[in-house]
């Protein structure tokens, strides 16, 4: 009895020792927790409190009965999605389109920022920045309208150019092989300037003495980009890459939907256009179904995010948490 309690006491005291040290660290930083209080309160109220509503994915939600009053249906809403004839093509199309966007769209703003950072003429640099930033504000409807206009086989620019060379004008908007390229590159056209801003900001904080030292050592500009600027951007780039992978299933439906036609449906149906069309076609609103699909997207996103974060930590010693 005695020895047992002694052992117990000894264990507790080690535990207490650790707890005490932890407490010291917490107390030492108490002001940081004060700073964090409001953000965490906000997070709980506006983000976590509504999460109880995600349970409607497992119910047949009816507004007349409320969230708790609606009948449980188990995994029926998920099974409905798995059994849909669209399930497979929609998942494949979403992943392909999304990873293509990510792989092509991710490095370009970085390159643009690095390149702009080298420009010495302030006027030129500022004008390029301003112009590349502007397309971000073009609405999707107009952007797609312009694509249809510019690429039209009879009245578009491509038609004019093709005719000038006496070629048959291509109908790119109807070519399923061209759909992904048009989608991704028009997206890059629209967003690269806006996405470059954060990198420009980070580049502006790189310690100038590093560059000065490199110049003294005889490094040329490309070498300085390679050994100073890029490592400086890496932590930010990694954060953005990891987070973007987590959202890889979230392709904004509007642009895809507006670009769809009978000729490219095979590659142009993604999860979010599918959900949108279900809502459009369905005579009765069905929040449970879309919530279930949302939950599914979240799970896939989470797995991808964890995997990529793990890889990033191994390869670059950067991690978002």
């Amino acid at each position: 009895m005695l020895s047992k309690s002694q052992r117990g006491m000894g264990g507790r005291s080690r535990f207490e020792e650790r707890a005490f040290r932890l407490w010291l660290r917490i107390r030492r930083n108490w002001q940081l927790y004060v700073l964090l209080f409001l953000p965490v309160l906000w997070l709980v109220v506006f983000r976590y409190a509504p999460m109880y509503g995600a349970q409607i994915a497992f119910r047949q939600y009816s507004p007349a009965f409320g969230i708790e009053g609606s009948p449980w249906v188990g995994f029926a809403n998920f099974i409905r999605f798995f059994n849909s004839p669209k399930f497979e093509p929609v998942i494949v199309n979403t992943l392909v389109l999304s990873f293509y966007s990510l792989i092509a769209g991710f490095p370009i703003p970085i390159i643009l920022a690095l390149s702009l950072n080298q420009v010495k003429t302030r006027m030129f640099r500022n004008s390029v920045q301003m112009i590349t930033y502007a397309p971000h504000f073009i609405s999707t409807v107009v952007l797609v309208g312009m694509l249809f206009q510019f690429l039209h086989p009879r009245v578009g620019f491509t038609a004019v150019i093709a005719q000038a060379f006496d070629m048959k004008p291509p109908n790119w908007m109807g070519d399923p092989g061209a759909f992904r390229h048009i989608f991704v590159w028009s997206g890059i056209w629209q967003e690269m300037g806006f996405s470059a801003i954060i990198y420009l900001a980070v580049l502006s904080t790189i310690d100038p003495s590093l560059h000065e030292a490199a110049v003294v050592d005889g490094a040329n500009r490309l070498q300085r980009i390679r050994y100073i600027d890029i490592p400086g951007l890496l932590p930010t780039a990694m954060v953005l890459l990891v987070l973007s992978t987590g959202r890889v299933l979230e392709i904004a439906f509007e642009k895809v939907y507006l670009m769809q036609s009978a000729l490219n449906l095979g590659v142009a149906e993604v999860i979010n256009t599918y959900v949108y069309k279900v809502g459009l076609l369905s005579p009765i609103l069905d929040f449970s179904y879309s919530t279930a699909i949302g939950l599914l997207k979240g799970i896939v996103g989470l797995l991808l995010l964890i995997a990529v974060n793990h890889a990033a930590r191994r390869l670059t010693q950067n991690s978002v948490w």
């Binding site: 940081l32 983000r47 390149s115 801003i197 900001a201 502006s204 904080t205 932590p235 953005l240």
Partner: protein
Amino acid sequence: MASMSSYESNINKVNESPVDRVFMFVNAAVLLVITIVILLPLIFIVSASFSSAEAVIAGKVTLWPVDFSLLGYETIFEHKKVWNGFANSLFYTYFGTIFNVIMTIIAAYPLSRNDLVGRRFITIAFIFTMLFNGGLIPTYMVVRHLGLLNTRWAMILPTGIGVFNLLITISFFRTTIPPELVEAARIDGANDFRIFGSIVLPLARPIIAVLVLFYAVNHWNSYFQALIYLKDQDLFPLQIVLREILIENSIDASMLIDIEDLIVREGLRELLKYSLIVVASVPVLLIYPFVQKHFVKGMMIGSVK
């Protein structure tokens, strides 16, 4: 000269090598090509917005207004709602951005400190909400329970902190504020509030500029929140009003269409498509130079350190 950063001016004293000169030339040329590719469609939009609807319909507009006309702009500004929406959007953008930036900074700094107990847990809790949310209805109900429905607060409070922005800021603090600096300040007797106020905030200028831009653009462009939380027309932001004017082109085949209605739709759409973009984006384009300025300043503060 304020326009030249300190290191550029130092480096320019050194003669550029031929490799660098070639590189600079190629770099400038590539940037020029990119700029032109981006600029041409933009010019098209602006030209179309100043052309007559007939010219736009007939496809006559390329890079210069045809049948110069201000009708599109006149039609937009004729709507009393537009002016009201403009004022509302300014309000939401101004106060919303202040709220967002403060929240993000005070969350990001503690979370960037490696010695903070619970740092990982809280960071992951934030990221988790990027992937999972309760959905539209529960969020709506929370906002309703708080009594924010149909008030200006509903446009400001629920946005709070953007996860992307938070993590960028955390990463920024981690790379620009070395732990040794914080330690040194502590030994000098500064507490965390002081460190935050006198070291972190001044160093954070470039990231604050970026946050201001991102959040402001977000507020300016947002309409979905207004759609859900606001019912009172007097509170509608500009984007809702503009979308209301620009009736979309989708026609439900199963519905009957009155020919008058069709004429209204088609006419307004053709007339306003391009002028609406210009009206909606000029204010946010104008803030960019002010934000840009801080990137250069940030550089100099960095060198002072």
